[in-house]
């Protein structure tokens, strides 16, 4: 925490940044520069951790980069929750105090459950993209799905949570495991121990995450500040409110859960349901056609790199 306070002091004081160009200095002297710096340090910590954890050539006997990266990524996840990132002086006290922590009118148990589930999802996602063995990748993805279904459950999406476990973790991941066992039964191959441009990819991910989180932070900063500020204009809100008034079945509280969802699916979106059913049928027929097509034996192994 002292490190972040020091960074905040560095970002807030004009002494350390006096040699910077004027535009950058003006940007950093804004009251939110410390928040931006903290968020960047957290995301950068996670990015360095992911970069260290990615498979690289010639490091199969060295395991310390993986451990160091795992420690860094875990620290980033913990910092996401514990580090206060102020959303501006106009924000309501206790609101948006940290980047990832629902300090809200919910009960604290909901907040803790949210953090545990989000930690499971994100940590399993990191382990999934850095696992050498594709079987382990699929299993970590199943854990991501379990965490995500818990998050769905926290958001009153009961049916979707059950469907995620049943369809995704029960069917799709198992199909993946079938294909892995069919195609690569020996586990991690040589190309699984190397990465394609790990530094550039991680930098791209860092930039994307910084832009997304920064946009969310920007929107949260301007929330509730007044009618005429930037963030208060929500074009979709009026139409959604109008629909929610005119049609009772659009409200989450109007019906028992699955009944309301079924009404919405099969009354409002019945054409989409039919279309998606036809799409699934076409996909099944196409999969049978593609996989059942015999490959000539003289062509097999043509591209093999031995």
């Amino acid at each position: 925490m002292k490190l972040f306070d020091w960074i905040l002091a560095q970002g807030g004081s004009s002494g350390g940044i006096s040699h910077l160009p004027p535009g950058l200095r003006d940007m950093l002297e804004q009251p939110h520069a410390g928040a931006i710096l903290r968020a960047l340090v957290i995301l950068g910590c996670g990015a360095v951790g992911v970069y260290l954890m990615l498979p690289r050539s010639g490091e199969t006997d060295k395991r310390w980069p993986r451990f160091l990266g795992g420690v860094l990524a875990t620290l980033a996840l913990v910092f996401l929750v514990t580090t206060p990132i102020p959303a501006g002086e106009s924000s309501i006290p206790g609101r948006g105090a940290t980047l990832l922590w629902p300090l809200d009118d919910q009960s604290p148990a909901t907040g803790y459950t949210f953090f545990i589930l989000a930690f499971i999802s994100l940590a399993s996602a990191v382990m999934m993209i850095t696992a050498r063995n594709p079987v382990y990748s699929a299993l970590w993805f199943a854990l991501v799905l379990l965490g995500n279904s818990g998050l769905f459950l926290l958001q009153r999406a009961d049916f979707l949570s059950a469907a995620t476990v049943i369809v995704y973790a029960g069917a799709i991941v198992v199909t993946f495991l079938f294909v892995i066992m069919l195609a690569q039964p020996t586990g991690a191959a040589a190309f699984d121990r190397r990465s394609r441009e790990p530094l550039l990819s991680t930098a791209t991910g860092l930039i994307l995450a910084a832009v997304l989180v920064g946009t969310l932070h920007y929107a949260a900063r301007h929330e509730g500040a007044g009618v005429n500020t930037v963030g208060s204009h929500r074009p979709a809100q009026e139409s959604i409110d109008r629909f929610a008034k005119t049609s009772k079945r659009l409200s989450l509280e109007s019906d028992p859960h699955v009944a309301g969802l079924g009404k919405t699916l099969f009354v409002d979106h019945v054409v989409s349901v039919e279309v998606i059913g036809v799409l699934l049928l076409a996909a099944v027929v196409g999969a049978v056609l593609i996989a059942g097509h015999p490959v000539a034996h003289e062509k097999a192994g043509h591209h093999a790199r031995q």
Binding site: T60, I129, R156, A157, L279, A283, H302, H303
Partner: protein, 183 residues
């Protein structure tokens, strides 16, 4: 009636980070199946975002979208896995880099990292501890077997002897004592 924006922001951040991790994995990994799993991870992040918006607005639309994306992911997984099976039959590898053979003739090949041959992983079998004494073998070596008819194999267990010694004398003179008494 809209919910809390702080809660919405938290779910959006988790969804954004899941999407980002999926993107990094898709760009970095070279296994076709792992790349496809990363695409599914990106879909999960988007589903989380959709459900969060639906819960924020108190409507069913987000969940309906997420259900449609789930069905799409199922269809996509079926097609893509069938394609992977065909690709593996043709190329006998799931490495994405071997398919840059399909590039134009004047395009240079992408060499992403030097191909270092990994040392073979030594399989570590569990080492079983010796349980009990070794049986004493009283037969001839194997080479002598073909010369004469095989002698009756007699394996004597010291543990059985010890067991017999500790036993009280058998009442009928047979049983456990009879088995061990051949020595």
């Amino acid at each position: 009636m809209p919910g809390s924006e702080t809660v919405l922001n938290n779910y959006l951040i988790v969804g954004a980070l899941l999407f980002t991790l999926g993107l990094v994995g898709f760009l970095t990994r070279r296994n076709l199946i792992v790349m496809f799993l990363c695409a599914e991870l990106m879909l999960q992040g988007v589903s989380l975002t959709l459900v969060a918006f639906g819960a924020y607005h108190g409507t069913w639309g987000g969940q309906v979208f997420a259900i449609f994306s789930l069905a799409l992911a199922a269809a996509e997984a079926g097609i893509a896995l069938a394609l992977f099976v065909v690709i593996f039959k043709r190329g006998s590898s799931l490495d994405i880099s071997i398919w840059q053979d399909l590039r134009e003739a004047d395009q240079p090949a992408i060499v992403d990292e030097p191909d270092v041959e990994a040392p073979p992983v030594e399989q570590q079998w569990p080492h079983l501890t010796v349980a009990g004494p070794l049986p004493r073998r009283t037969t001839e070596p194997k080479e002598a077997r073909h010369d004469r008819p095989p002698a009756p194999v007699e394996i004597v267990s010291r543990r059985a002897d010890a067991l017999v010694n500790t036993l009280p004398s058998p009442p009928r003179g047979r049983g456990a004592g009879g088995e061990g008494g051949n020595s």
